[in-house]
């Protein structure tokens, strides 16, 4: 016997729904919400989901569990008026320059105002205009558009375990900010952009660059080339109402659109994804043989890379040194293509289309620049590409498909599935195993939705252990398990965004999981209809190696296709413990991060802070975490780092200095 309750007079069955909202939505009633996200904890702050429960009064549906025989009304006059007031109050403190907001049309506040028939706002507008935070390459934050739902904070904290954003202040003064009201660039943000995806309004948006691209396109002295990432073809159609699931067809339309905008060459990042696999698989086999720096982590997600650099420098050596497909496209486009295409270097402008905000940051990493010149000039998102197509007035759905330009337009299915979680691993397996089975489906056991998936595979006499991870909180847990020897893997794929790149923050905004799943399916279907599936079979990849890079793992390949990483300090502040007034001094910096503190860094501080011991000739500072936690206590003396320190060892070293 199922349990029942009544919604607007209709008897409805329910089972394990967590709250009334889920039951009501199952009945196809789209109760308005801001602060409810199926992926996140329940917050209950926006007060939009109010319903009337007979005998109990008005309750928020998102935080009330369903009970048998409840009698619920969702649309009484009173409720409607309440919702209107809530929206009007939000609008009263909103910067209502909606027509000029990039979120316009996909903004929830706008659509609710329309749905609820709001014609005037009965309250005085008290919106505060604050300067926007444009400090990062990835995002723009505009607090004037914030409705304080807290979705961004919770996503960043609960799913990504970063916690870069928080509420600041209280009451009418409250707002969303990184710690100490600094800008986002000074926070721990890794640029995944997922906060912008869940933000119902235009308060956090991917940072646009497409205007610069238009400018380059209209400059007669420039030749602009572009490449699209695998995941783009799986999502762009959504904007133009195309639901047919054919990635090749859609990519073909994109090529036509880009050509008509004036791009001289249209390439496919799937080509360099194939190269990434060839190069990365080679690196992996080398490491496996030598049992060196295992497990190997994938390095194609820049938010994940940044995460490791910032939180787990002890694992930097485990990151594959291969550039991401975008990174490889950049170096090949900038350094090899001028010769291949006969375009003078100074005329070349290199653009990429990505499903991702972190890619905007990646392109500017100094590690990817050569002689201070970055490879990729502009990175635009799928969203921006859609805008450009609209601006150009193209009827996208009606465009004929055309073919990518060669040589960076040819790909195998392996390069295409790169865009979804598990795709990199599957493509690497196709390369490493190099079998002739049913190539497109052979290793599909790595597919799926779980945030951490494990797989085992026999290779010769060895058994390979793989992990496929998405979401950074999951990644943090996997790192912890590896560190604690609870888990042993050989190969770990990590994508910061849930679902992998198909769920990236540069994609058209989605909130329904089904949308993301459909995108993954598009890529897998696309793989099936490709002629080749194994990246190493790509003849153009082979030719690229032969003509320019010798072979995978060669010195040349390293120069073009690999990169390096470095530790990024998370806490910039230091605590001044003692300061010497003398000229000739020794600088002692003692780590007081969580772990070093437990291992006794306080005693070290105490010893060195005792000025008399060293005739006052020391400056002592406490640093908040050098992130070498497993080797603590860590102390820096005149810039040199010492691990496993004791008060005695530090005293000795300081005296020597």
């Amino acid at each position: 016997m199922g349990k029942h309750l009544t919604i607007n007079g209709k008897k409805v069955e329910f089972t394990d729904e967590r709250n009334l909202l889920e039951v009501i939505r199952k009945e196809n009633i789209e109760l308005p919400t801001f602060c409810y996200h199926s992926e996140l904890n329940i917050h209950g702050a926006c007060r939009l989901c109010m319903v009337e429960v007979a005998g109990k009064g008005i309750m928020s549906a998102c935080s009330t569990p369903p009970e048998p025989d409840m009698d619920i009304k969702t649309n009484t006059e009173h409720l409607i008026e309440m919702r209107k007031i809530t929206i009007e109050l939000l609008l009263a403190s909103h910067d209502r320059e909606c027509t000029m907001c990039a979120k316009s049309e996909s903004c929830k506040l706008q659509s609710l105002a329309r749905r609820l028939g709001i014609e005037e706002v009965r309250f005085k507008n008290i919106s505060r205009k604050e300067p926007k935070d444009i400090s990062t390459y990835a995002l723009v934050r505009d607090n004037g558009k914030c409705v304080l739902c807290g979705d961004c904070i919770r996503f960043c904290d609960e799913i990504q375990s970063i916690g870069a954003l928080g509420f600041v202040g209280r009451g009418s003064q409250s707002k969303i900010c990184p710690a100490f009201e600094r800008d986002l660039e000074s926070s721990e943000c890794v640029y995944c952009g997922q906060c912008s995806r869940v933000c119902p309004t235009g308060a956090i948006l991917p940072k646009p660059e497409f205007r610069e691209v238009w400018k380059a396109l209209s400059d007669e002295k420039k030749k602009v080339i572009i490449a699209i990432a695998p995941a783009v073809r799986a999502a762009l159609g959504e904007v133009f109402g195309i639901t047919e699931e054919n990635g090749t067809e859609l990519a073909g339309k994109i090529v036509t659109a880009l050509r008509s905008m004036g791009f001289v060459k249209v390439f496919d990042i799937s080509f360099t994804a194939d190269m990434t696999i060839v190069e990365e698989a080679n690196e992996f086999l080398g490491r496996l043989e030598k049992d060196d720096d295992m497990p190997m982590f994938t390095s194609c997600c820049p938010a994940w890379v940044r995460f490791v650099e910032q939180y787990s420098p002890d694992f930097i050596k485990n990151l594959s040194t291969c550039r991401s497909p975008q990174g490889m496209y950049g170096s090949i486009a900038r350094r090899i293509m001028p010769e291949v295409l006969g375009i003078p270097k100074e005329e070349l402008v290199v653009v990429s289309v990505m499903p991702c905000t972190a890619k905007k940051y990646e392109a500017r990493r100094t590690e990817l620049a050569k002689d201070g010149v970055i490879d990729i000039d502009y990175v635009i998102t799928t969203q921006e590409l859609a805008l450009m197509i609209e601006e150009a007035g193209l009827r996208f759905a009606d465009l004929e498909a055309s073919a990518f330009d060669m040589p960076l337009g040819f790909k195998t299915g392996g390069g295409i599935i790169f865009g979804t979680s598990g795709g990199v691993t599957e493509a690497v397996l196709r390369n490493v195993m190099n079998t002739n089975g049913d190539e497109a489906e052979e290793f599909n056991f790595v597919r799926g939705e779980n945030g951490v998936r494990e797989a085992k595979l026999k290779v010769g006499s060895k058994e390979l252990k793989l992990a496929i991870v998405h979401g950074l909180k999951n990644a943090r847990k996997v790192l912890r398990d590896i560190r604690a020897d609870k888990k042993r893997y050989d190969f770990v794929e990590v994508m910061a965004c849930p679902g992998g790149c198909v769920g990236g923050a540069g994609q058209p905004v989605y909130s329904d999981l089904a949308v993301r799943k459909r995108r993954s399916k598009v890529l897998y279907e696309n793989d099936k209809i490709m002629e080749l599936h194994k990246p190493q079979d790509n003849p153009y990849v082979q030719k690229m190696y032969k003509d320019y890079l010798e072979k995978s793992g060669s010195k040349k390949a390293h120069e073009y296709l690999h990169t390096s990483y470095k530790y990024r300090k998370r806490f910039k502040e230091t605590l001044e413990i003692s300061k010497s007034s003398l000229d000739k001094i020794v600088n002692v910096e003692v780590c007081v991060g969580r772990n070093c503190l437990k291992k006794g860094s306080k005693e070290i501080l105490k010893r060195v802070a005792d000025g008399n011991k060293f005739k006052d000739a020391v400056n002592v500072q406490a640093l908040i975490c050098l992130e070498r936690c497993s080797k603590g206590p860590t102390v820096k003396i005149n810039g040199e780092t010492f691990e496993h320190c004791t008060p005695d060892s530090v005293e000795d070293t300081v005296k020597k200095n």
């Binding site: 600041v168 710690a179 100490f180 502040e573 605590l575 007034s581 105490k606």
Partner: protein, 159 residues
């Protein structure tokens, strides 16, 4: 050579006393503030690292409660009651007068020379004396703009 080691040690002691427990953030911040007289950013960062929470959350809590001071306070603290009774008796006029006297701008609460910090508080429970001002724990009732100016002069030794 000056040393802040003692303060740092107290902060560590406070954290230990609360067993590095995230859920004790508020009492930890309170005790640490007593040590440092306010909550310097580096100390909040240290607390967030020690408790393994993000600094944004620590900062959020610190800004939520008016009790926490995020900037160093001056030597003398002037509290002006702006509760209902005092408000009716024109406490805002007194606030303006003090600000003018101390040369404080709209959003400033502490004088540049770090001698004075002014705070508005909600009801000190001395409504019979409204408007009430408390200077370094001494209560002064029925305050007027002249009286407060004289008190400040007295404290700065000016005349």
């Amino acid at each position: 050579m000056t040393s802040n080691y003692d303060k740092f040690e107290s902060a560590c002691r406070i954290l230990e006393e609360h067993s590095f427990d995230k859920s004790k953030l508020i009492p930890i911040l309170q005790s640490v503030q007593e040590e440092y007289r306010y909550l310097p950013e580096e100390v909040m960062s240290f607390i967030s690292s020690s408790l393994d929470m993000s600094p944004a959350i620590v900062y959020g809590v610190a800004t939520f409660y008016a009790h926490f001071a995020l900037k160093p306070k001056g030597k003398n603290i002037i509290k002006i009651c702006d509760g209902t009774a005092c408000h009716v008796k024109k406490s805002t006029v007194i606030i303006d007068a003090i600000k003018k006297k101390l040369g404080l701008k709209e959003n400033e609460n502490t004088t540049k020379d770090m001698l004075f910090t002014i705070e508005t508080v909600a009801c000190l429970g001395a409504c019979g004396l409204a408007p009430v001002v408390v200077i370094n724990d001494n209560v002064y009732g029925q305050m007027t703009t002249e009286k407060i100016a004289a008190l400040i002069d007295e404290m700065t030794g000016a005349r």
